[in-house]
Symmetry: C2
Subunit: 312 residues, 2 copies
């Protein structure tokens, strides 16, 4: 079977190893911390695979899949013979440049080189090595083993063939890729997320509501729709005449509320401390791990539900 | 059993009738269009109740519940003896003022008077009648028969007792109320929704991605988390040290992406037409009713899933 390399075996890197291993690839997994892959990354990958299996989202048995993930003792060893390399190291442009120099020196010339970066534009570190047309950002949502969306973004010198091949590989691996037509800070997902969060901080900071109210607006309101139909389709389904009819009626309100949003709100450390105190009442710090496990089960139950309904 | 009145029997009013009837109230339902209640509202309520029953979200049989909804031939008839009145007429301040004058003249003095308005501040039409301290906005998400979140907002003269009683009544009826501490345009849900939509229109309008990409970012990304945990809890669960740790690390990025959002983006009619064309490829106008039914089934399946998981 084809071989994929994952460079960096933290939370994101080990989740990528799960994605590629369950898609049938042999995975070379490397981390700069010696022993980290055997000690925590592969056991962590196994737990994720068990969770997927328990939720009916794994077609093979866990041992078969986990056996495909192999510890590599160097970047060179991990990327040798790989058709695809996914980097998930620290968000530090100097570190990423160094890592990609090493990757590019040892990976096959036709391998696709991808970075998980969420915060650094790919053009700042994906062009300083031979054949930069094969490199792009493939930004996952954490963790990609549970959440299918990935954002593909070229650097300006990335070839259309590279983008098309990465998109196909992601689709075949069960992910849901979108392709950005040009680079923008935060890509799409984090821009939408932190635009909403910024207005939420404004509403809480100015005393209109609490963080708990904001969370309820999502969990018991907006996200009940958005989990199945996105915001454009929500509007399109709002009337027999579709999106156009929606905007004809509600365009003025859309413009008004957009203009009224205060996403540049200058929230203070005291406001964050106060929100943290409220959150820590709801979810005490010593129960976070347990609640994270609950969150992951909820995500998988929702994905199962959606798979069932798609087939109705 | 206690009696509730629903004034206005359009999409929102008839969904409210379902909410109150399934909670055991006798419902007096009035619409200004003669015959509308019998012709479309009660049959529509029956279909919604059947859908709830099919999804295990109704504890009684449909006939029993639907029999509680009775057509009233006037506002006076509907509100006589009611403990709670929910108005859902046209979003026109003059019409609402007139309707509330009539409601206030005939409802018991101790009845709570609520408006479903989403666009007009309650202080503009809920104070010009005797005992305005009993009136408030109870803003549902459409349709309240499927989506539990409701936003309660006083007018400034609304009494704390009224707000507390409305909150309790909503909770007892299976809804999830939040209470705004002061009035703001769009309340919380629509501000968050249209802040995100405004940035989405900016990203699409400036050619970074398509409406379909935006929708995928929600359905296969953000909303897989938000359906169970809201944005504050997402951050709180992101690290062992909770929200404070998240902001310590990612605060600068949060500020940067918030400031970079262009929620005042001046989208053009051509951009809307282009988005409408894309949406109409995905969901042709003549399939909207079918897709709406699918959306409703998805919402109910998700609510069922969440009820199951809460009990794990």
């Amino acid at each position: 079977m084809s071989r994929v390399a994952c460079i960096g075996a933290g939370t994101v890197g080990r989740a990528w190893a799960v994605v590629f291993a369950r898609a049938g690839y042999d995975v070379g997994l490397f981390d700069a911390i010696e022993g980290e892959v055997e000690r925590t990354a592969i056991p962590g990958a196994r737990r994720t695979l068990e969770l997927l299996a328990e939720n009916g989202l794994l077609t093979e048995d866990v041992d078969t899949v986990v056996a495909r993930i192999k510890s590599a003792s160097s970047i060179a060893e991990a990327v040798t013979g790989a058709i695809f390399v996914q980097e998930s190291v620290r968000e530090d442009v100097a570190v990423k440049r160094e890592v990609f120099t090493e990757i590019a020196a040892h990976a096959p010339a036709e391998a696709i080189l991808a970075s998980s970066t969420s915060a650094i534009p790919g053009s700042e570190f994906l062009t300083g090595f031979p054949h930069p047309e094969r490199a792009l950002v493939v930004h996952p949502v954490n963790p990609p083993s549970l959440i299918p969306l990935v954002e593909l973004c070229g650097t300006g010198v990335t070839s259309p063939e590279t983008i098309a091949a990465a998109r196909q590989l992601m689709t075949d691996a069960g992910m849901r890729p979108i392709v950005l037509k040009k680079e923008i800070d935060g890509f799409i997902l984090n821009r939408l997320q932190f635009t909403l969060v910024a207005e939420a901080l404004h509403l809480v900071g100015e005393g209109y509501c609490t963080p708990e109210d904001i969370d309820a607006v999502l969990t018991d309101g907006l996200a009940l729709r958005w989990a199945s139909i996105g915001p454009f389709e929500v509007a399109h389904l709002n009337a027999p005449d579709g999106l156009q009819g929606f905007v004809d009626r509600l365009g003025p309100m859309m413009r008004q509320l957009g203009a009224a949003a205060r996403t540049d709100y200058n929230w203070t450390p005291e406001q964050i401390a106060s929100a943290h105190a409220e959150l820590s009442q709801r979810v005490p710090l010593d129960t976070i791990a347990e609640r994270q496990a609950w969150r992951d089960r909820q995500i998988l139950a929702l994905r199962q539900m959606k798979l069932r309904e798609q087939n109705v």
